[in-house]
């Protein structure tokens, strides 16, 4: 498969050996690499062993590292996160897998009570360096609760980082950085693009910062803020409209790279947010508020949000009507371009 991701200079390094891989393979290779690099890294979850995960993200790890480092668990998200927190308190570096973001709700208690609070309530004494991998997002005709993009619950929560890659290159660098970081991280994997094309990725390990947005495409007229599976739609829309569009991949959803976001919006004077989560209180709401609070006098148009609707994820036959796509992103860009005070 040819390389379908736009590869800006920052994602190309000809001095390194590279391999063409898709996003889920990048996750898999990163897990292999981090487990080889650090004996303290263990992975936990169900179906992660012989089967290699329902999406094959953990394929081959059990054979290589054994069942004390690849821990196939009972079907209990609360049990997985709760015991992973305990293991982390004992000095382990655990990477639990929650099979689908919509399965994380049983674990919400442990996430809220222990995972995100431990560092604060011990005055910084106890670190909980978990990277909780969760496949998220719709568009794959899956069952209910298998299509969720409910990152807002975690974005609203202090004490945890939320990270979301949009390319194989991003996935590898961000996952390695998350695993090595001493904060807990919710690592959202856009399953719609797990196998959505390959990209040339360095075979050596590298990390990407967890607090920086990524400039995907430079432009002068309007800024599109987006992340994950929606980045490709934003890029396609920006190429289809009659305007110079800057696309920023938020990448680190919490904490936000406010500086990059405001700098871009102040430059272009217009802002569109494209996300697949429900609109009300989705991250777009925070981004819009941010722009209003700190860049109002530079705005040439209100911020518009091209998002999912404020409804439960619908059945298969209309899920494409729910999900934002290139067309919806394009409309939002054209709307803010057409606005005059």
């Amino acid at each position: 498969m040819s390389e379908v991701y736009p590869s800006p200079a920052s994602e190309r390094d000809t001095s390194d050996e590279t391999e063409n891989i898709d996003l889920v393979t990048a996750v898999n290779h990163t897990l292999h690499q981090e487990m080889a690099r650090d004996d303290g890294v263990r992975i936990m979850g169900y179906d992660i062993g012989p089967i290699g995960g329902v999406y094959r993200a953990t394929e081959g790890l059990l054979d290589e590292y054994g069942d004390e480092r690849v821990i196939d668990t009972p079907l209990s998200e609360n049990g997985i996160i709760g015991t992973a927190v305990g293991m982390a308190m004992a000095g382990e570096r655990v990477v639990p897998e929650i099979q689908f973001m919509g399965f994380s709700y049983p674990a919400f208690g442990q996430i809220m009570y222990a995972l995100v609070k431990m560092y604060d309530r011990t005055g910084g004494d106890i670190e909980v360096p978990l990277t909780v991998r969760m496949a998220y997002g719709g568009g794959v005709k899956a069952l209910e609760y298998h299509q969720e993009s409910t990152e807002t619950y975690y974005l609203h929560t202090p004490g945890v980082r939320v990270v979301c890659p949009s390319t194989p290159y991003q996935a590898k660098g961000l996952l390695a950085a998350s695993i090595r970081h001493d904060d807990p991280v919710i690592f959202m994997e856009p399953k719609k693009i797990y196998r959505g094309g390959e990209q040339s990725v360095p075979t050596d390990d590298y990390t990407l910062p967890l607090d920086e947005a990524r400039l995907v495409r430079e432009g002068e007229d309007v800024t599109v803020l987006t992340w994950g599976a929606m980045v490709r739609h934003a890029v396609a829309a920006s190429e289809a409209v009659d305007a110079s569009v800057e696309v920023v991949d938020i990448r680190s959803l919490s904490p936000l790279d406010v500086e990059t976001i405001l700098e871009s919006v102040k430059k272009t004077g217009r802002c569109v947010v494209v996300h697949e989560a429900r609109r009300s209180l989705g991250l777009g709401a925070e981004l819009s508020a941010l722009v209003n609070e700190y860049a109002l006098d530079r705005l040439k148009a209100p911020v518009k949000r091209a998002t999912g609707y404020d409804v439960h994820f619908p059945s298969h036959d209309i899920e494409d009507d729910y999900l934002p796509d290139e067309e919806r992103a394009q409309h939002a860009i054209e709307a803010v371009m057409s606005y005059e005070f």
Partner: protein, 376 residues
Amino acid sequence: MVEWTEHEPPEGKYQRLDADGQLDGDSPAFDDELLAMYRTMVATRTLEDKMLNMQRSGEASLVARSRGEEATPLGCAAALEPDDWIFYTYRQNPALLYWEYPMAEIVAGDMGAEPETVAEHLDTDEPEVNFSPDYTPVGVNTTNAVGMAMADKLNDHETVTMAFIGDGSTSEGSFHDAMNFAGVFEPPVVIICQNNQWAISEPSHRQTGAETFAKKGEAYGVPHERVDGNDIFAVREKAEEAVERARNGEGPTFIECVTYRMEEHNTSDNPDVYRDPNEQRDEWEEKDPLDRYETYLREEGVLNNDLAEEIEGEVNEQVSAAVDAARDVPDSGPERIFDHQIHGEPWNHAHQRAELEREQNGQNPFTDFDGEGFDE
């Protein structure tokens, strides 16, 4: 060869019908239903095989079959009476078909239609037993079932609630909460663990350190049974006892039905990756619930070749009609997205509905700049 994936030897369960189709003890009390139950098993296999074909050809999205496990949901559901409730998950088609849940609705749901669209376009009767919507998240239904049974007890209703879960579900917190409440409040609930020994790729010994799943009832003060889940007579007998106890105000029962998942978890799963397909297959084929039952019925003279052919023909016709009806359900209108979110229509829904309509018409949905509608 690993015969059992949990911790108890095979003999530790209640059985009436052996693998050769020989019934131990008295004839069952439900003689008049013997053929109806046979028919339900045949119908389940025919329907699920048809749905599998539809999935392979892209018509249906995802299919979870109950092949080899039919006796458990069938025998348990058959123990209920009209107006009782079933809280099921995704491997209980025999329970649905026994109570004449509309087959076309099962197919249409699997083809991905919104429930409102299905209800509008299928002429279907309500089954005599009430069914909750099927639950995808594991274990959640047990707590809801206990709550319904608690309400029935508080209101002096005589209905019984039955919940179906798999072995993996007993690891989830909701299951433990349900069992604890059931033990404390003693509502008329029967919780069935359909232990098919696999939760996708996880064998059942990865779900519990207990000798059996049935013993999970012990700590909660909930009476429990362990039954050969491929033996329709044993399953039905124990389920009837539990239902009767519940209806008599004697509280909950937890029943583990030991069976085996012969095929994949669902059509997005490939079990060859994590289990040797031949490891237990022959053994469990010998224990097949339909074969055993059919042998018994033939030996009793209840079933013969002509009758079997007649039933097969009827079932094929019924499945074809259901598939045709389901295929006639049109795609949902996109505006269905907003149906049944909450009562009434708040501003955000009204506004987003208008946006969606404009998008469908090729117009720009983002040109409302004052919150009052759209400037054309």
